[in-house]
Amino acid sequence: MVIAVAAGKGGTGKTLVAVNLALALHRAGLETALTDADVEEPNGHLFVKPAISEREDVTISIPRIDEELCDRCGECSSFCAYGALATTPARVLLFDELCHGCGGCTMICPLKAISEEERVIGTIERGRTPEGMGFTHGVLEIGEPKASPIIAAMKERLDPGVVNVVDCGPGTGCAAMTTVQGSDVCLMVTEPTPFGLHDLLMAVKMAEELGVPSLVVANKDIPGDTEVKRFCAEHGLEIALSIPFSMETARLTSSGINLVDTGEEWQRTFYSLYERITPMVGRGSV
């Protein structure tokens, strides 16, 4: 089973929900793995402190042009959809950061002047937490623009036999989409500010387009606030869990202490969240 934890924007408490849910399930005896797919800012490890036992580089194939063979015909650069190649009278230039590694230029070169080499764009690290929970995260190299290949590689390695809690990157761009796609259910974490609602709507639309059913977790909830509740009712969204705003919670999580470590009650709360999720599994349209 794959439970994606997403949010239209950062800072809503996505990691808080993912980490506590995963820990609660693991402690309840379910075989659980936490995957931190927020590869630009992976923070999950700060909360579960895993020992990393495996590292694997993620690479893309980028072209290497043999200047002896190349006659500067320009076919490669006019093919490249991303403007990663430029043909000058003297040579063909490659702008590494723009290349998606599609392989098109290699294919198209009439003189077979292009070969490919691997370029590391990030790393996947796997291990277990001190209490034995599975953990994986991906780290994008600094200055590297594309997260999707790393996320795709991480998703290929998910074990379908366990409960996978996947912390997605923020937003509704390609990285979040790649992560949510194919999940059984998506938990949308929101906070009761106008920002939160605006972005929640975007995120829900995204999950809908991907055919993944979503449930809402209202974080930093304020008593009497009905904005989020009204919004969810209007859009037919079920609020599966509400986490009240408290200075104490903010302090704990800022210091890397998990809610489930502070008492039985949170452990039960997050386990019941799981119980609300399970009936949704298989309800997706894809």
């Binding site: 950062g10 800012e41 923070n43 997260a147 500010t193 920002f195």
Partner: protein, 292 residues
């Protein structure tokens, strides 16, 4: 004309609040909301939209089922796993990166390409100066392109209006849109918060700024939440020679102002406003532009 880019390693650190305050304090300025995946600045600054235009940002492949003979060549060549086999073959638009390889290899010319809606770029007027922003269509990627376009429009607007400063509200993270927000900037302001994740993300975003060689200053928001961690941020910035130009305490009134969509300056307590004013002065000095 100078460009200040406001960044935060992660979302939720108060970057938009700070950007809105700076607009109020340094006005008139041109604002560029480059947080295109979750644009929020307009909620605080309420621009009156003057005009907007669609921007096509990416192309996708499409297979004509009448022409496709299910030979498999396209699926074999697509490195993004975007083609699902079967009769007929299909393109998964979410995965397709529009590279064009499938069109090149297809012997039946069954593949064509179409432009997706992409983004809507708008120009508007706020009480503090012109603003440019964009809404990205759901699931749209290549937001780097959109960011570049928004910044370009903002620069043009600044030239036309003779305004000396463009404030760019950057994207969270360290990926493509951030890189597009940063290139060519004159000064980066990194907004951080005292949490373990804030500290971790600060390191990453500092590396990005360094990678591009842009002068950087920092601001600590909610600096009193975990004082020990605020100390660590100060220390780290000190080691790297980065000035901490503002320390803004946590205040429930900021949250209230946001909830009411009120711009911060004038609606938050003095202990929050004072560091914001100091920050505006530092920025004025560092960008050495005369503002009104």
């Amino acid at each position: 004309m100078k460009q200040l880019v406001v960044l935060s390693g992660k979302g939720g650190t108060g970057k938009t609040t700070v950007t809105a305050s700076l607009a109020q304090l340094l006005k008139p300025v041109v604002l560029a909301d480059c947080d295109v995946e979750a644009p929020n600045l307009h909620l605080l600054l309420s621009p009156q939209t003057d005009d907007s235009f669609p921007l096509k940002v990416s192309r996708k492949a499409r297979i004509d089922p009448d022409l496709c003979t299910a030979c498999g060549a396209c699926a074999e060549s697509c490195r993004f796993g975007a083609i699902t086999t079967g009769d007929p073959y299909r393109v998964d638009a979410f995965r397709c990166e529009g590279c064009g390889v499938c069109g090149f290899v297809c012997p039946e010319e069954a593949v064509d390409f179409f432009e997706t809606d992409g983004a809507q770029v708008y120009r508007g007027m706020t009480p503090y100066g012109p603003m440019v922003g964009a809404e990205l269509a759901v699931g749209e990627e290549a937001s780097g392109k959109v960011v570049t376009r928004v910044r370009m429009e903002a620069q043009l607007t600044a030239h036309e209006a003779g305004l000396p400063l463009v404030i760019v509200d950057g994207s969270p993270g360290t990926g493509c849109p951030v890189i597009a927000s940063l290139s060519g900037a004159d000064l980066t302001l990194i907004i951080t918060e005292p949490s373990l994740s804030g500290l971790h993300d600060l390191e990453r975003i500092l590396q990005v700024a360094e990678h591009f060689g842009i002068p950087t200053i920092a601001g600590i928001n909610k600096c009193d939440i975990v004082p020990e961690l605020a100390d660590r941020i100060r220390k780290r910035c000190g080691e790297l020679g980065i000035e901490v130009a503002a320390e803004i305490p946590f205040s429930g009134e900021v949250v209230e102002a946001l909830r009411g969509r009120r711009p911060p300056v004038g609606n938050v307590p003095p202990e929050v406003e004072e560091p914001l004013r100091r920050l505006a002065l530092v920025i004025e000095e560092r960008t050495a532009v005369a503002t009104g």
